[in-house]
């Protein structure tokens, strides 16, 4: 099934994310690269969406725009009804801090901070006081099943555990939107299964999740799969689940 990527039914609920004809063009080299060529999409609260597509099709670019890590070259991005496509650096930082949780393929933990200190980082920038930060970081680690590893440094944790710390860090601010760019790309199948089970659990508890993956079984875990090709959204399908 192809067509506009707006979910037709879900009561009278407003979309959490709405992209309208978003283009992203990189002009670094000789020829401009159109990483996104007019993407329009809506994501509703509580959805669990997987994104698939060939390498270079613009999945990561799309997700960086969703996460306000980058801004569209043209088009509109409404997050919770507010146009965020042309905000200044400071406002974008605030949105990233309060509303978005990001999980990267390479974990991106700071090696010199232990698990709970890594998890508390976003709260520092939210000006939460130290005592509350620690409590919330420990609670987030508990949620991902790593309460007993709070004082371990990243190099003392397995890949799967590191990624779960990264998920805890993404969750600790209670964001509206959890974004994961190939979170299992660097993990073995067992750890992948752990992380996916965790995402499924988070979805059940009501979180909105967008997940990029190359693997079909991973994509199948989501309730809706979006396909990308050549910077365009080429259709979505509801999974059987």
């Amino acid at each position: 099934m192809t067509g506009p990527a707006t979910r037709p039914v879900l009561g009278a609920q407003l979309p959490l994310v709405q992209l309208v004809d978003v283009w992203k063009t990189y002009t670094a080299g000789e020829v401009p690269v159109h990483a996104l060529r007019g993407v329009s999409v809506s994501i509703f609260p509580g959805e669990y969406i997987s994104i698939v597509g060939p390498s270079g099709s613009g999945k990561s670019t799309f997700m960086h725009i969703l996460g306000c890590l980058d801004v569209p070259t043209s088009g509109r991005y409404y997050l919770g009804g507010t146009d965020v496509s042309h905000l200044d650096e400071d406002r974008l930082a605030e949105i990233r801090n309060h509303r978005i949780g990001f999980v990267f393929q390479q974990f991106h933990l700071l090696p010199r901070l232990n698990a709970w200190r890594n998890v508390e980082l976003p709260l520092i920038y939210a000006a939460v006081d130290r005592r509350a930060r620690r409590a919330r970081a420990l609670a987030a680690l508990e949620e991902v099943g790593l309460a007993n590893r709070a004082n371990h440094f990243p190099n003392q944790l397995s890949g799967g555990q590191q990624q779960r710390v990264a998920v805890a860090r993404a969750l600790v601010t209670e964001p509206d939107l959890l974004l994961a760019d190939e979170p299992t790309g660097n993990l073995d199948s067992r750890s992948s299964a752990d992380v996916l089970a965790m995402l499924a659990e988070l979805h059940r508890s009501g979180r909105t999740i967008v997940l990029i993956t190359h693997e079909n079984d991973v994509a199948a875990a989501a309730e809706r799969t979006m396909r990308f090709r050549d910077g365009r959204f080429v259709g979505d399908q509801e999974s059987a689940a």
Binding site: H64, G67, L69, D70, E89, D90, A93, E94, R96, N97, H98, F102, F104, H108, L110, R112, L121, P122, I124, Y125, A126, A127, R130, R169, T173
Partner: protein, 405 residues
């Protein structure tokens, strides 16, 4: 982000990059210590030269005979024998020369002194009782000769400490010393002048000028007349009065033909001071260069530090840090490193000013302004060289920073 959290995370970053942090601190430290020590050396040299010169008597004017000329061959200053004891007495006249406080004519020769079976060759000066105050000397034991001794051509002598020792006179007062086979009675020993200059001021014999002229030299000319001005500010007036008086006495109308020459200690002092000033500027230049080199080292380390942390900066931005917060964190880091290096360097430099003089002969002054300035410069170096690359990194789009290797 609160300032407390900013400071805490800055200090944590310093602590967790121990080697790099200590190299940065070391670079600043060496530059600062070098500044303090080199400036101190320069000022120390200035101070010791100044004190050496003022030890000679600061308000001193020195009158010497002019140069003789025989045909085209011109002798140096002092080659004429144009000055006399009468000149000195005229200069001591308070009516004509109110600004000259004291006058001491001096003749000098070299003589062999014999005491018992010891002999010693040294400078023998003939002068008047005011020699003591004009030359800034004092008598340690015994007395100096008096106007009465001058009137009687008394055969009395005052010895320098070294001279007395060399002659083996351990209780010299009342002993007899032969100078050129003429017996003199020792009436005093001078206090040590300290060896501030290269000529040993403690090795000499001083006798009444009349005795020296009549019995040792057989000449009535005077080698030098020392004049003491009442104060430093009246030196110019004293100089004028002495010139006029001597020109009149010698019957010379055109000052260009003067057969004498007057020099001042203050001109010596000025020359020495300007030499020392040059020296201080030179040393400060060396210090500034070492500080600059240290600063460039710090800049390199900071640049590397920021470059290898671009991904960390990207991640912090992705988690919600604003560029301002990132800049502040590096500001805290850089200024803490600069301050640590500056204070450690100041401590080392200050310690050096006290310890080094025990190993080298030079005196080193401690310059407060150089120390404070150096610490300020150190912090500035840290801040400029640390924050500039950090603020560039803080401006990077978070995703680009994250992707960097």
């Amino acid at each position: 982000m609160s300032w407390l959290d900013t400071v805490r995370s800055g200090l944590e970053a310093i602590a967790s990059h121990r080697l790099r942090s200590s190299l940065t601190v070391l670079g600043i430290l060496i530059g600062i210590a070098a500044v303090i020590l080199t400036v101190g050396l320069g000022e120390g040299a200035t101070a010791s030269v100044n004190s050496a010169i003022s030890a000679l008597g600061t308000n001193l004017l020195i009158v010497q005979p002019g140069s003789s000329s025989t045909g085209l061959v011109r002798g140096g200053f002092g080659s004429l024998s144009s000055l006399t004891y009468q000149d000195a007495q005229a200069l001591a006249n308070k009516v004509d020369c109110p600004d000259i406080a004291a006058v001491a004519p001096q003749v000098s020769t070299v003589g062999t002194l014999v005491a018992g079976n010891q002999n010693w060759t040294t400078s023998v000066y003939g002068s008047t009782p005011s020699w003591l105050s004009v030359r800034g000397r004092s008598v340690q034991v015994g007395t100096f000769f008096t106007q009465a001794d001058l009137a009687h051509d008394a055969n009395v002598v005052v010895l320098g400490q070294t001279t007395a020792q060399e002659l083996g006179l351990f209780s010299p007062i009342g002993q007899t010393v032969d100078i050129g086979n003429i017996p003199f009675s020792v009436i005093g020993v001078l206090s040590s002048a300290g060896s501030s200059s290269s000529t040993n001021e403690d090795d000499m014999a001083v006798v009444p000028i009349t005795t020296a002229q009549d019995e040792l030299l057989g000449s009535s000319s005077v080698n030098t007349i020392y004049l003491e001005a009442a104060s430093r500010s009246t030196m110019g007036a004293a100089y004028e009065e002495a010139t006029d008086e001597l020109l009149a006495l010698h019957g010379i109308t055109n000052p260009v033909d003067a057969d004498f020459n007057i020099t001042t200690q203050s001109s010596l002092l000025q020359t020495a001071t300007s030499v020392d000033h040059t020296l201080t500027v030179l040393l400060a230049g060396i210090a500034a260069i070492s500080l600059l080199v240290g600063g460039i080292g710090v800049m390199n380390i900071m640049l590397v530090s920021v470059t290898e942390r671009v991904r960390e900066i990207g991640l912090r931005k992705a988690l919600g840090a604003t560029p301002r917060v990132i800049r502040r964190q590096f500001l805290v880091e850089a200024s803490a490193l600069g301050l640590a290096g500056g204070l450690a360097g100041a401590a080392l430099g200050i310690a050096g000013t006290f310890v080094l003089p025990h190993f080298i002969s030079n005196h080193i002054s401690l310059s407060g302004s150089a120390t404070a300035g150096a610490v300020v410069v150190a912090v500035a170096i840290g801040v400029v060289f640390g924050v500039y690359p950090a603020s560039r990194a803080a401006r990077l789009a978070p995703i680009e920073a994250l992707r960097s290797e």
